[in-house]
């Protein structure tokens, strides 16, 4: 048996103070044993942050919970609203509309997936869409919101939600949180990065003002510039633009007027798509497109024409290349956030991938020697995570019947990764979902997008033939009815937020003052 106590890391240095940097700082400060490790974060106000990233998926609530952050405080600080899913317009065909809800559809019965019942019921004349059996979709459509119920018998136990919020405010909120837990922040622009001549490890950051920040383990959260991972360590980038050709975003915020919708809207345009993300005071808008098919000026026009409120500022242009780094952890540096890779925000997954990067690191928390065994495992897990999200996003482009533009014709006809091809073929054939256990997107998500984009199985589950059609119809009707009934009783989304954030924080929570909570 070896040494009795693991040799510990003494210093962690984070480069960047966007969402990635402060989420990392906050989580490490909270999770690592108090006082054992010194955490420093370097950021440059002059460079600033990307400041977008307003929509999330339900895992975000878990992240905040693990930090002990009260939901009300979080919503107040970030102008947050609730999100029950995403409405997709014009994706399958022009004029199509479907909802990708969080939480599942209906209830599985006799070991058979709910969507199989629904497909079966179509033959008996059922004209209701599958989303009418999802409490998230039904509530979203009526602009209602309430927190899920614990009682598994209640329809509301199937409700799952995420948030829309102001990303800059979230970073500021976490900054305060992390600084209270002892994270040291250094303001300054990094000019050069010093490497150990023998190991190639990063040893220090040289700032513009002459300050030198030494370190043992570095997190590269420097955004698209990928200062450490790419620029210093020369890690190669996996380019996925053959499957996800969009490479530019135009963004602008508008005033929030009209109802506060509890969902994100994604509308496919001729050469990309436009998002609409409602926070409490404003609405985030953006147009994601491929500059090969449309000029920047035209793109500006598309964005502005698609707004439903007054722009609050000028339009910003952000360029990107879809893909991820070949390794996320190289030598003594881990890339998290945009420096590690970027997948367009169609399913709001970037903050989730940041979260995964952090939790995987904590789960594998190494000793001071940073052995390969930990690094390799981290890289394996994160690569998988990125690839799984990638496939799900590609599905939206591939499963289109649109042929009104060269962009959509390209997407419809492009070759796709084998992993996705199998998933689509299996569904198309018999409505079955290819199983992958720890995948982020659940069966319900795959079903929602495939059916929403008109992939209808050729044949139906034979086991269903045993169950009388009337029985199926009856079960479906009563599910639908109970969802409608309960929805009428739910509060309006804006009203719920107002009342909820007025309530006192739940016991136990405060912003941390000193030490660990």
């Amino acid at each position: 048996m070896n040494d009795t106590k693991p040799k510990l890391l003494k210093e962690i240095t984070i480069v960047g103070g966007g969402s990635a940097g402060w989420m990392t700082a906050a989580a490490l400060a909270r999770m690592l044993p108090t006082g054992d490790v010194k955490i420093t974060l370097v950021e440059s106000e002059q460079i600033g942050t990307i400041g977008v990233g307003e929509a999330t998926i339900p895992d975000m609530a878990r992240f905040n919970r693990n930090l002990g952050i009260d939901e009300r405080e979080f919503l107040k600080a970030t102008n947050g609203t609730f999100k029950l899913g995403i409405e997709f317009n014009n994706w399958g065909k022009l004029g199509d509309k479907y909802f990708h809800p969080f939480g599942g559809h209906g209830v599985d019965m006799h070991g058979v997936d709910f969507h199989q019942y629904w497909l079966h019921s179509l033959k008996a004349g059922n004209t209701n869409s599958i989303e009418e059996y999802s409490i998230c979709s039904v509530a979203a459509k009526h602009n209602k919101f309430v927190l899920p119920e614990q009682n598994p018998k209640s329809v509301l136990s199937n409700l799952a939600y995420a948030y829309h919020f102001d990303a800059t405010a979230y970073a500021a909120f976490l900054r305060k949180y992390a600084e209270n837990l002892g994270v040291k922040r250094i303001e300054g622009k990094i000019e050069t990065v010093e490497q150990d001549p023998t190991t190639g490890n990063i040893s220090a950051l040289h700032l513009e003002d002459g300050n030198i920040v030494k370190g043992e383990l570095f997190f590269d959260c420097s955004g698209f510039s990928s200062l450490l991972l790419d620029k210093t360590l020369g890690v190669k980038y996996r380019d996925w633009s053959q499957w996800l050709p969009c490479n530019t975003a135009k963004t602008v915020a508008t005033k929030q007027d009209g109802p506060m919708l509890p969902y994100t809207r994604s509308t496919a345009k001729e050469t990309g798509w436009q998002w609409r993300i409602p926070t409490q005071q404003r609405v985030g808008n953006g147009y994601i497109y491929c500059d090969k098919y449309i000029s920047d000026e035209e793109a500006n026009k598309v964005l502005l024409d698609g707004l439903d409120g007054e722009p609050l500022s000028d339009v910003r242009t952000i360029r990107f290349k879809t893909g991820c780094q070949e390794v996320f952890w190289e030598k003594n540096c881990i890339g998290i956030g945009l420096s590690a890779g970027f997948l367009e925000p169609l399913e709001s997954t970037s903050l989730f991938l940041i979260q995964q990067g952090i939790t995987r690191f904590i789960a594998l928390y190494p000793n001071g020697e940073l052995p390969d065994i930990v690094r390799n495992e981290y890289n394996r897990l994160m690569t998988r995570e990125f690839e799984q999200v990638r496939d799900f996003i590609i599905l939206h482009y591939k499963a289109t019947q649109r042929d009104d533009s060269p962009f959509w014709r390209y997407c419809r006809d492009m070759e796709i990764p084998e992993s996705l091809q199998r998933k689509m073929a299996l569904f198309q054939h018999g409505g079955r979902i290819f199983r992958d256990e720890n995948e982020l997107f659940t069966r319900a998500s795959w079903v929602a997008v495939m059916l929403g984009q008109n992939i209808y199985p050729e044949t139906n589950d034979p086991i269903l033939a045993n169950i009388p059609k009337d029985g199926i119809q009856h079960s479906l009707s009563s599910m639908k009815k109970s969802m409608e009934q309960i929805t009428t009783k739910l509060p309006d989304h804006a009203y719920f937020i107002e009342k909820y954030t007025e309530m006192k924080p739940q016991s136990g929570f405060t912003m941390p003052n000193t030490g660990k909570m």
């Binding site: 048996m1 070896n2 009795t4 054992d36 594998l364 018999g430 033939a465």
Partner: protein, 490 residues
């Protein structure tokens, strides 16, 4: 493309009867099911082993096979797991029990605290002290987990069964409804094949059988699938003999496995006595038979391993016809259940079934490889005997996936898992500790709780578990009372 309208199951043993029963209970009347009792797989059915994992319970329930019925009509007994006694002729002994989630403290897996204790005390950490069913099992006790009380320590104890494959096969057969399933007793004389699909079976009784889908449950030789060009798997040849020692008093709620240079011997504690199984390689036959010591009631010789494809054309294999697994763990039974569930999920809708076959084969391979990881981990240790049984195990220990799992544990006690492994995290944790694998370092997050505080907590936990175990009834007595009650009720 025609609708699937007729399914033929071939075989005469555990796999065939269970498959036929599962089809009977799930399929629409519109699909005709036939069972052709081909050959007899009683002897090779030894390789389904004699214990099951807890998941059999729900599987049975879905087929209307209830626990009372099993207990009343067979010599089945309860099973907390497998005891490996001096495994590999070393000092590694432990009860590989079935346990629910072991829990976490401050977000760190429970076992990490035990690792820290072991590392700091410079001795092998013992997880068994903190597992209620290991404590109860080793004390010869058994009781069902208390219903509706998930605070009670016993609610964490899962159980499977110790069983006799022939008895279970007969129970399943007795539940087949002859009005629903057409049962034919006959061997196969000839198999007609066209373009990689079976068109018909000519039976020795003269009948000609056609179907949309053929399910091959004919045991390791896979009489049907082998005609479509499938080759057996790449395992090793093993022999098995089985004997029986009647007993007045039923043994404990676990199966005991002892190692010998020629292989191993298990004692399964059934209600009417102990079944002894000896597994060995060809080279050590004399020593194995001598040591077996009981009259042989069943014996066979098989090659272990899984086929490349379990489904070709319109023929799918279930059980041994697809994969023979050494019955050292409950894996053979787990795999049989998985085969059937996979089939039910992917049962083709029409006669065009290549999509289903492809997905079935992908999942089958994944399941088979994952199961082998667990078996491989039992043979991954350095001080192995030179005898062929122990030394010829490279086929199952060389996998990179396994190495990764072992390295991750040995470095920092991390339980690395792959997608949909049949053995869960607890199984792996208990196995690593049982095999005396010691992490180099423990998870630093463990230090959130001071070692001394944790020791107090652990000692308390140990005391509680010992106390609970001491208050439980002996396995035999519990069974006796339960049967009295069930007899009255049924």
């Amino acid at each position: 493309m025609n609708k699937l309208n007729r399914i033929v199951v071939c075989g005469n043993g555990l796999a065939a009867n269970l498959t036929a029963l599962a089809l009977q209970q799930t399929l629409s009347e519109k699909i005709i099911i036939e069972l052709i009792r081909v050959g007899n797989q009683n002897s090779t059915d030894i390789f389904y082993g004699s214990i099951t994992a807890p998941n059999i319970y729900d599987f049975h329930l879905n087929l209307n096979v209830s626990e009372p019925e099993l207990l009343l009509n067979t010599n089945t007994s309860f099973c907390y797991g497998n005891q490996y006694l001096k495994w590999g002729m070393s000092d590694r002994s432990w009860l590989q029990c079935f346990h629910l989630y072991l829990g976490a403290e401050e977000g760190v897996d429970f076992h990490q605290y035990i690792s820290r204790q072991g590392i700091s005390e410079q001795k092998q950490a013992n997880l068994e002290h903190y597992l209620i069913n290991a404590q109860a099992g080793l004390a010869g006790k058994f009781a069902h987990p208390p219903a509706g009380n998930d605070q009670h320590p016993l609610s964490r104890a899962e159980y499977g069964y110790q069983f006799n494959p022939k008895e279970w096969s007969d129970i399943y057969a007795s539940m087949l409804d002859e009005n629903r399933i057409n049962i034919i007793d006959s061997d196969i004389e000839d198999i007609q094949i066209d373009k990689g699909e079976i068109t018909s079976l000519k039976l020795t009784n003269g009948a000609l059988i056609q179907a949309s889908l053929f399910i091959d449950c004919t045991g390791p030789n896979a009489q049907l699938l082998s005609q479509l060009g499938s080759k057996p798997g790449e395992g090793r040849k093993l022999r098995a003999v089985k004997g029986f020692q009647p007993a007045v008093q039923m043994g404990p709620a676990f199966r005991r496995i002892k190692s010998f240079p020629y292989g191993w011997q298990s004692e399964t504690h059934l209600r009417n006595g102990a079944e002894r199984l000896t597994i060995y390689t060809d080279k050590n036959k004399a020593a194995a038979i001598k040591n077996h010591g009981l009259p042989v009631i069943e014996q066979c010789r098989v090659k272990t391993g899984h086929r490349e494809h379990a489904w070709l054309g319109n023929c799918v294999t279930i059980g041994h016809a697809a994969n023979v697994i050494e019955p050292l763990t409950p894996a053979p039974n787990m795999m049989l259940i998985n085969d059937i569930l996979r089939l039910l999920e992917l049962l083709p809708h029409t006669t065009s079934m290549s999509e289903e076959a492809e997905e079935y084969n992908r999942r089958f391979k994944q399941d088979a490889e994952n199961i082998d990881l667990f078996l491989g981990a039992l043979f991954s240790f350095d001080d192995k005997l030179k005898d062929s049984y122990w030394s010829d195990t490279a086929y199952i220990t060389k996998s990179d996936k396994l190495k990764r799992k072992l390295n991750q544990f040995e470095y920092r006690g991390r339980i690395a898992m792959y997608d949909l492994e049949p053995f869960n995290e607890q199984d792996w944790t208990i196995l690593h500790f049982g095999m005396a694998r010691t992490p180099q370092i423990y998870d630093v997050l463990v230090d959130q709780i001071a070692s001394s505080d944790m020791t107090v907590k652990l000692n308390k936990m140990r005391e509680v578990l010992q106390q609970v175990a001491s208050q439980m009834p002996p396995h035999a007595l519990y069974m006796e009372k339960l049967l009295q009650y069930l007899k009255k009720k049924h």
